[in-house]
């Protein structure tokens, strides 16, 4: 019966070529990526990210309010209707947090869109702009990394990697030789060409990064958190781009101690502050293990800048010596409060050197710019 005369009708079409759904979704994913990039300085200090093991295949959730198309709507009301058992006055649900009033920084009840991204991918976005400055090839120690390059074409059959173009080309060649005509016909196993990989050994310039952290009493939880955030991202960045880099961790109050990486992030005892103790210990470590003719050495000192009175000039002297030795870059990162601390003032006054960086990280938003300021790969030795 013709379709039009039937009141109800059922059919099945071929939808295999319809791509609008994934296409729209891809466009949305692009916007998500842009939104993440645009918000990186806010996202990167999220607690869940900082404490995560960077080697795990973890997906982190990121709230992205910018991906909600706004509309002019009413405020959410504090009441409504429902169905269920109970008497007047009974509690039917309990949620943590404030009431339906405006929560800080979040519109209640409205959708706060969250997306998930692999930690690796998030890191890649952050590290895109970071690199080691003043990097030089060092004579003695050449380190090696295994890099996988997917660029070789061989005659081995692994169906998933069949290079169709080359296979057909081989087939045509063979047909031309055997049958006098270059055409595609009778494909045989010897025609298969398969894309595979080879391991390439790449040279990496030897580098060592020394972290010095002030854990004295003046470093409160806010300051400590900023140091941890900066430090965590630095370590993650190094591990990702320069896997063979060596590290040393120092914590100091009036005395300096070399510690393990995990202790560096955790210790919080703290008494008074004598920053030079850390620089002295660092110099010992450099002399013993990371000679600047064999390593590109990067020095980082995190502190709130509050130092024992007469110690500042001693630090200035020690930094000058390190730069004289050939340390690639020395950085002083002052966390919390952008006012001039005594040590920072002394350092900036006493050292005018393009391989010295004095950076201020007063709040979370400044962490990423701070990272970019220190790890500015644009800064290299003049050729």
């Amino acid at each position: 019966m013709p379709y039009i005369e039937q009141r109800v009708f059922i059919s099945r079409e071929d939808y295999s070529l319809r791509r609008s759904g994934p296409k729209n979704a891809a466009r949305h994913d692009e916007k998500v990526k842009d939104a993440i990039k645009g918000n990186l300085d806010q996202i990167i200090f999220d607690g869940a990210i900082i404490t995560a093991d960077p080697k795990s295949k973890k997906r982190v959730r990121i709230p992205l309010r910018s991906l909600i198309l706004p509309h002019i709507i009413h405020k959410e009301s504090k009441d409504g209707v429902g169905s269920g058992p109970g008497d007047v006055g009974d509690v039917i649900s309990t949620e943590p947090g404030q009431g339906s009033g405006q929560g800080a920084g979040q519109t209640p009840g409205q959708e706060t869109y969250e997306t998930e991204i692999l930690l690796e991918d998030l890191q890649a976005l952050v590290f895109a702009d970071l690199g080691l400055p003043f990097l030089k090839p060092k004579q003695h120690q050449q380190l090696e990394t295994d890099t996988i390059l997917f660029d070789d074409v061989r005659a081995k059959k692994t169906p998933g990697n069949l290079d169709i173009f080359r296979t057909l080309t081989e087939n045509m060649k063979r047909n031309a030789i055997e049958g006098g005509e270059a055409r595609i016909f009778g494909i045989r196993p010897e025609d298969y060409r398969v894309r595979t990989w080879r391991n390439e050994v790449r040279q990496e310039n030897a580098a060592a990064v020394i972290f010095k952290r002030d854990f004295s009493g003046s470093m409160g939880p806010v300051e400590t958190y900023l140091v941890q955030a900066f430090g965590w991202w630095t370590v993650a960045f190094l591990r990702s781009k320069y896997p063979k880099v060596e590290t040393a961790f120092i914590v100091h109050d009036t005395q300096a101690y070399e510690v393990s990486e995990s202790d560096y992030f955790r210790r919080n005892d703290g008494g008074g502050t004598t920053c030079s103790s850390a620089y002295v210990l660092e110099r010992e470590i450099i002399d013993k293990r990371f000679s600047p003719d064999r390593y590109n050495v990067y020095s980082l000192h995190f502190s709130d800048g509050d130092n024992w009175n007469n110690d500042d000039q001693k630090c200035v002297g020690l930094v000058r010596e390190m730069l004289g030795l050939g340390v690639a870059q020395v950085g002083f990162i002052q966390v919390a409060s952008s006012s001039n601390s005594s040590l920072r003032t002394a350092l900036t006054a006493g050292i005018q050197h393009d391989r010295f960086a004095a950076i201020v990280v007063p709040d979370k938003k400044a962490v990423l710019p701070g990272l970019k300021a220190y790890f500015n790969a644009q800064k290299q030795f003049a050729a």
Partner: protein
């Protein structure tokens, strides 16, 4: 799974369902069912129409639907398009009996689309129109760049719901201006109450004939407050290119199409659920379903009509309302319910003892679905009986000791009705009107929020301002009420200010 032989079975089922539906006097649009894979279901579910224009908001919904589906969290059972012939989509992964239930449900919808008053004026060829619009927008992306088109679409979509559903077509700008001018000049003539007999009165004609140049006020544009923000901006914004006006008109058209569905969601879903229940029971009674199938469809049905502690499940609420209407007119009420009606001096009907088909209940269900929208439906037919049957209440949220508690505040049916009806004013959207397109004599747009007790969510208003500015190109003002006081927000392209 849909294989060729199961396709044949579904065809057979459709025939059975249709026969029963006809028996119960359903009269739907010709309905075309299509069996589709999940990705397509989610695509159509995310856009609302097959072949609709691309936008990242659709992509976001698509992504969410796909993810939920892959995690087994929820499955959209049905997508029905209001057109003539109507289109409906069935998931190929569903069990046959599930799809059979959906087909019965869909016929309830297409019957509703054909007969409910609020759908009378919607165009019935929208899938086709939407596909053409999408093609034009793709063309613009090609000509003018994807970014400019997307930015403009974002802006247009941000105000898409602020249209005037009762004014389907707009006059072209020149004609509209001419019409207003004529009305305005009429209105400017002095009103002495007699009009054509003015010259017989004492006042000399020379003084009052017409208006002198100094007293003549420039005609306000718009002449009366305009609810159709999208249409007005499309026609009167100073700097729009033709392709931008076209996009606004496309958004307006599609918004008009979706509007009646938003207004009648509860009735429509309730009606369709009511009918799929009756039809499937009949299928069972006639022996068309084996025992396993009976269990499956009831499980599905039960899942669909689960009531919610907070909020309204339209399938549940709507169906229970129609059940009540049927029971009421067929005299099928409990004694307590009848006593309440007596007390309220409402008519009580005698118990009807015949077949359901042709019963007063059957007739009234089909009559009532024609004339109402959700708001009038509840206002007219909701009372203590359905409220009690559904165990309904009004709840309130309180903040206490760092927690948000929700408590039952009132089980009174009048308060429930009032709460529901109030929330449905203007389909739940703020009522916005353009009052002046030349505010401050510098082509600023002035929008007034007709406040009726519900305040605006200011954070969202803030974020919508840049979009309004993208559309209008000049400063935009929004007047509303905050904390009981009149407040005017404005945006000049750079920042938001507040006066009053």
């Amino acid at each position: 799974m849909a294989t060729p032989e199961s396709f044949g079975r579904l065809e057979q089922r459709l025939g059975q369902v249709w026969e029963i539906a006809q028996h119960f006097n359903l009269d739907p649009f010709p309905t075309h069912f299509e069996i589709i894979p999940p990705e397509i279901m989610h695509e159509i579910g995310s856009t609302g129409l097959p072949e609709r224009f691309s936008h990242w908001t659709h992509g976001k919904t698509y992504r969410q639907l796909q993810t939920r589906y892959n995690y087994g969290l929820s499955v959209i059972y049905e997508v029905v398009i209001n057109s003539d012939p109507a289109l409906a989509f069935l998931l190929e992964n569903n069990f046959d009996v599930e799809n059979t239930t959906i087909m019965a449900h869909v016929l309830g919808h297409t019957d509703f689309f054909k007969h409910n008053y609020h759908f009378k004026k919607t165009r019935k060829d929208l899938p086709h129109a939407a596909a053409i619009s999408a093609a034009r927008i793709r063309d613009y992306e090609f000509k003018y760049g994807r970014e400019p088109v997307e930015q403009f679409l974002d802006a247009a979509l941000s105000i898409a719901e602020h249209i005037d559903p009762f004014q389907a077509t707009r006059l072209p700008k020149e004609d509209q201006l001419a019409k207003w001018k004529a009305e305005y000049e009429e209105g400017q003539k002095p009103k002495t109450g007699m009009g054509e007999f003015d010259d017989l009165f004492e006042k000399s004609p020379s003084k009052d004939a017409g208006i002198t140049k100094e007293e003549h006020q420039p005609m306000p544009i718009p002449l009366q407050p305009e609810k159709d923000l999208v249409g007005f901006i499309a026609d009167f914004a100073p700097y729009l290119e033709d392709w931008q006006k076209d996009i606004l008109h496309i958004v307006r058209m599609e918004s008009s199409y979706f509007h009646p569905q938003g207004r009648t969601k509860i009735m429509n879903e309730g009606y369709a659920t009511y009918w799929h229940k009756i039809i499937m029971r009949e299928m069972s009674d006639k022996g068309f379903l084996d025992q396993e199938e009976q269990i499956k469809w009831i499980a599905m049905h039960t899942g669909v009509i689960t009531p919610t502690l907070k909020g309204l499940n339209p399938y549940y609420f709507g169906m229970k309302m129609f059940d009540f209407i049927e029971d009421y007119h067929n005299g099928n009420l409990e004694d307590a319910e009848k006593r309440w009606l007596d007390k309220e001096k409402l008519p009580v009907f005698p118990k009807y003892k015949g077949e359901y088909v042709g019963s007063p209940g059957n007739k009234m269900v089909r009559e009532i679905m024609k004339g109402d929208d959700d708001q009038s439906f509840i206002r007219n037919y909701f009372n203590k009986i359905p409220a009690d049957r559904m165990g309904m209440y009004v709840y309130e949220e309180l903040a206490e000791a760092g927690q948000k508690l929700t408590i039952i505040a009132d089980r009174g049916w009048e308060r429930i009705r009032e709460r529901l009806v109030a929330s449905m004013n203007n389909d739940g959207n703020p009522y916005l009107v353009v009052t002046d397109a030349n505010h401050n004599r510098n082509q600023s747009l002035y929008i007034k929020h007709l406040y009726e007790g519900r305040e605006l969510e200011l954070k969202y208003l803030e974020k919508t301002f840049p979009h309004l500015h993208t559309l209008w190109g000049r400063p935009v003002y929004v007047e509303t009420v905050v904390g009981g006081n009149r407040v005017i927000f404005s945006y000049d392209g750079k920042q938001i200010s507040q006066t009053a």
